[in-house]
């Protein structure tokens, strides 16, 4: 620990002195009070807090004697609180001696800034012997008898899984998840290793499927030193940051993520051959692969499209032969029109098929719910049955992330506020066990997800009153359905919505925003007071994911949807001419308008000899858009952008890339001369 602070810490020192002196004084006083009434639990607690605070403050300022003394006293008091040590006259005397000694040290510090290192031995011994007798045994064997993990993390060493674990692994494999071994080491001088590892465990449990932990973590903590290195076997969909985030705990020195082979009888590994093992310390990301599992039926469908393409290609080549041989213009035109039609169908069919390969069953999210409900139900003391249906309804991969939170939140809400306690339910004539149902189905071009509980339902009158009191105009005249909608407004606490008191339902409006804005969907509430609540989410099937071309203007990236592009091109400056409505340049035998991204954004175009450009397409019109750089094609998720940012409607949305960069998506409907 550092020596006493120097003169420039004057302010800190003064604050420390002020507070600590008061602590010491209170300590003395409270101890006297305790002498007078030794049965008082309150006084014991108070002294415990005082010594605890004193210990922390002194330690921070580097006064080890004082801090050590306070620590000892705190330990003694801790044992008194837990009933392990009786508060006898003798014990009290030793505590008082400790407090006196603390006062002396405090005095020294306030006078000279230093504490005497010695002189307190008997006081210290007096206190430490009290606890030494009672210290719990530290070493206990690991509870499940499994051998600890081996020294080096070598690729495919088999680990014995029991039958239950093997079954869970098989189920996970069918869901498309990978088996991963995550090894976590705690920094060597961290005194509470078990708890650190437990923190990682707790984070993992909430996000993925933990199959097995070595050393085990069920029940009482054992020998702390065993947890310096903990191995988690889990299954999870590959990719994403979940594993990284879970292990992002203070005092975790290193994390190793290895994808494993499925145990004997497993299907061939996804992705490439060797396991993806990487060291991760602190910030650097593990090399998690972005491979996915795809239903072979979908691949077959794609294959048939490819086959058609091949036929199409053959047709085109026959056609060009025909032209060479002098086929008449009319026949050529007919063939071309037919060709272009079928190509159109083919390409949209393929796009859809490709999109389908991105679809996965919603069971990925649903599978987390049984555990969530089980844990919460246990915690709250409300037995609940969870019924899931429609788990194989497929949704796009990218919505999975965005949906998980809102759904989880709604379920939590049902359990927390919606469902009554079993005694009340019985009194109301309801079955003792509450029921929550979650279902998903496809309805035309939308996915409909419903979450229902048979709890209290919404108290529409109460919501209306609250609305009136909040000054929401016209609240009194709102119909029941509209009143229920109000729940989604910020400012409404779930407490007002359901006849119970607890917390602020800060989530409902967030859920609504998530669904409405991010996912371009809709939320509806149906409820019957006393009977239950149903929340209906509707999400469009085709998403706001757009395949785009990223371009740059002055180091800032912008995106152009591929559907708005015809092609890319290079335009020599010499070919640019000035026409009536603006600039133009030749393209495919025509002269089309030329715009520059810089100009749209209000800047001067940087003169070059040859410009990079894209050929924009809007219906029949074509136009050049000159940019600084053409970057790459990328699929991006489009989020809406507020009108304040986009008053001229230059952009149709914005996307946040993985690295946090913002990319605005250009609205290319400006290909008209007058807008320039």
């Amino acid at each position: 620990m550092s020596a006493a602070p120097g003169p420039d810490d004057g302010r800190l020192r003064r604050a420390f002195l002020e507070e600590s002196e008061e602590l010491v004084q209170k300590l003395g006083e409270t101890l006297s009070a305790l002498e007078a009434s030794p049965e008082s639990r309150e006084l014991v607690n108070e002294i415990f807090r005082l010594t605890h605070s004193l210990k922390s403050e002194a330690a921070l300022m580097g006064y080890t004697s004082l801090s050590g003394l306070a620590h000892l006293m705190e330990d003694v008091l801790g044992q008194i609180r837990s009933g392990d040590l009786a508060l006898s006259r003798d014990v009290l005397d030793r505590l008082v001696a400790g407090a006196d000694r603390a006062a002396v040290l405090m005095n020294e510090i306030s006078q000279s800034g230093k504490e005497s290192e010695s002189g307190a031995e008997d006081v210290v011994t007096g206190l430490s012997t009290l606890i030494a007798d009672r210290r719990r045994p530290v070493a206990r064997p690991a509870s499940n008898g499994a051998p600890p993990a081996g020294e080096t993390a070598d690729g495919n060493r088999e680990t014995p899984f029991n039958e239950v674990e093997l079954r869970r692994i098989a189920e996970a494999r069918d869901r498309g998840e990978s088996l991963v071994r995550l090894t976590v080491t705690v920094t060597p001088d961290e005194p509470m290793k078990f708890v650190r590892a437990f923190l990682v465990f707790s984070n993992l449990e909430q996000a993925v499927n933990v199959i097995k932990v070595v050393p085990a973590m069920d029940g009482a903590p054992v020998d702390d030193s065993l947890y310096g290195r903990t191995v988690f076997y889990l299954t999870a969909p590959l990719g994403g940051d979940t594993l990284k985030d879970a292990a992002r705990v203070d005092q975790i020195a290193s994390v190793t993520v290895e994808q494993m082979d499925y145990p004997s009888g497993g299907s061939p590994r996804d992705g490439s051959g060797a396991p993806a093992g990487t060291e991760m310390t602190g910030r650097t990301a593990p090399a998690e692969k972005t491979s996915i599992r795809v239903d072979t039926r979908k691949l077959d469908e794609l294959w048939s499209f490819v086959a058609e393409l091949v036929l199409h290609k053959a047709h085109m080549s026959r056609l060009s032969d025909g032209v060479a041989r002098g086929m008449d213009a009319e026949s050529i035109r007919e063939e071309l029109v037919e060709s272009s039609d079928s190509l159109e169908k083919l390409s949209s069919g393929m796009q859809q098929a490709m999109r389908d390969t991105r679809m996965i069953p919603i069971s990925i999210i649903f599978n987390k719910f049984p555990r969530l409900v089980r844990d919460l139900s246990r915690k709250l003391g409300k037995p609940v049955d969870l019924v899931l249906s429609g788990e194989d309804t497929e949704i796009d991969r990218s919505i999975i992330e965005a949906l998980s939170d809102p759904l989880t939140h709604v379920i939590r809400n049902s359990l927390d506020h919606g469902l009554e306690f079993p005694e009340e339910r019985v009194r109301l004539g309801k079955p003792e066990r509450g029921k929550i149902t979650v279902s998903a189905r496809r309805q035309g071009g939308t996915i409909v997800i419903e979450l229902a509980d048979d709890g209290r339902g919404l108290d529409t009158d109460r919501i209306r009153q609250k609305a009136i009191s909040l000054g929401i105009p016209g609240a009194a005249a709102l119909g029941d359905a509209e009143v229920r909608e109000l729940v989604f407004l910020p400012g409404f606490s779930t407490k007002d919505v359901v006849t119970d008191l607890s917390g602020r339902g800060v989530g409902m409006d967030v859920v609504a925003t998530r669904i409405r804005n991010d996912l371009r969907g809709d939320v509806e509430l149906v409820s019957e007071e006393g009977k239950g609540t149903r929340i209906i989410l509707r999400l469009p099937l085709t998403l706001t994911i757009v395949n785009s071309l990223l371009v740059a203007d002055e180091a800032q990236m912008y995106a152009i949807p591929l559907s708005d592009l015809d092609s890319t091109a290079k335009v020599p400056a010499a070919e640019i001419s000035l026409q009536e409505g603006g600039e133009a340049a030749p393209w495919m035998g025509d002269t089309i308008s030329l715009y520059s991204l810089a100009g749209l954004l209000g800047r001067e175009r940087r003169p070059r000899e040859e410009y990079f450009a894209v050929v924009l397409r809007h219906g029949e019109s074509r136009g050049f858009l000159v940019v600084d750089e053409l970057i790459e094609e990328r699929e991006i998720v489009i989020k809406p952008v507020d009108d304040l940012v986009n008053p001229l409607r230059l952009f149709s949305g914005v996307s946040v890339l993985d690295d946090g960069q913002l990319v605005f998506i250009l609205d290319t409907s400006f290909i008209r001369r007058d807008n320039f």
């Binding site: 009153q465 609250k466 009136i468 009191s469 909040l470 000054g471 407004l489 910020p490 400012g491 606490s493 407490k495 007002d496 008191l501 602020r504 409006d509 609504a512 925003t513 409405r516 804005n517 991010d518 749209l600 954004l601 209000g602 800047r603 989020k639 952008v641 507020d642 009108d643 304040l644 940012v645 986009n646 008053p647 001229l648 230059l650 914005v654 946040v656 946090g660 913002l662 605005f664």
Partner: protein, 179 residues
């Protein structure tokens, strides 16, 4: 009715007169003290990482990335037309200045989320509905157009911001933007 309900920390505690009062977060702009309802305030952050967007409204210095959502930042000074010459004491310089007390108040209005850049954020106040004067004979200009009322509390005048007007992106913006 509502008055009998136990007040929660975020709800509407009734005042002695029996009319509801609302809680507001107050802040400084120039020499004036303004406020917005606390239940519309999501967060208060330091101005950092504002990405300017070409051709945005003139009072929008840019956007920020708030946990994955792209939020516009509105300079309330610019919006309300308060010149720099009226800078209050204690309000710092540019956003990059560490000593600056400028903050961005993230507010939510319906499904819109926006950041309001202010000179300094102050305390949370309870304002009784009854004490709000709608027809203000205050100085004309900025206040009248963008405030929905004025209230007095402990000798200080609080101007209640009309978020709807502040954030309206009407036709007038088009003209302004092309300047």
């Amino acid at each position: 009715m509502m008055k009998e309900d136990a007040a929660d920390a975020q709800g509407s505690p009734s005042s002695a007169q029996g009319s509801p009062s609302r809680r507001y977060v107050s802040f400084i702009l120039g020499t004036g003290r303004y406020c917005v309802p606390v239940d519309q305030v999501m967060q208060i952050i330091r101005p950092q990482g504002i990405l300017s967007v070409p051709k945005a409204a003139p009072f929008v210095p840019g956007v920020i990335n708030l946990r994955g959502d792209v939020i516009p930042v509105v300079s309330l000074r610019a919006r309300l037309g308060i010149s720099d010459a009226q800078a209050a004491q204690g309000a710092g310089g540019t956003a990059g200045n560490v000593a600056s007390r400028a903050r961005i108040i993230i507010i939510r209005m319906g499904s819109r989320v926006c950041g309001l850049m202010v000179d300094d954020v102050r305390e949370i106040v309870d304002i009784n509905e009854a004490s709000v004067q709608r027809e203000s004979n205050q100085e004309p200009g900025a206040h009248a157009q963008f405030t929905g009322g004025v209230a007095q509390r402990d000798g200080t005048l609080f101007l209640i911001l009309d978020l709807q007007r502040v954030l309206s992106a009407g036709r007038d913006l088009q003209g302004a933007a092309q300047v």
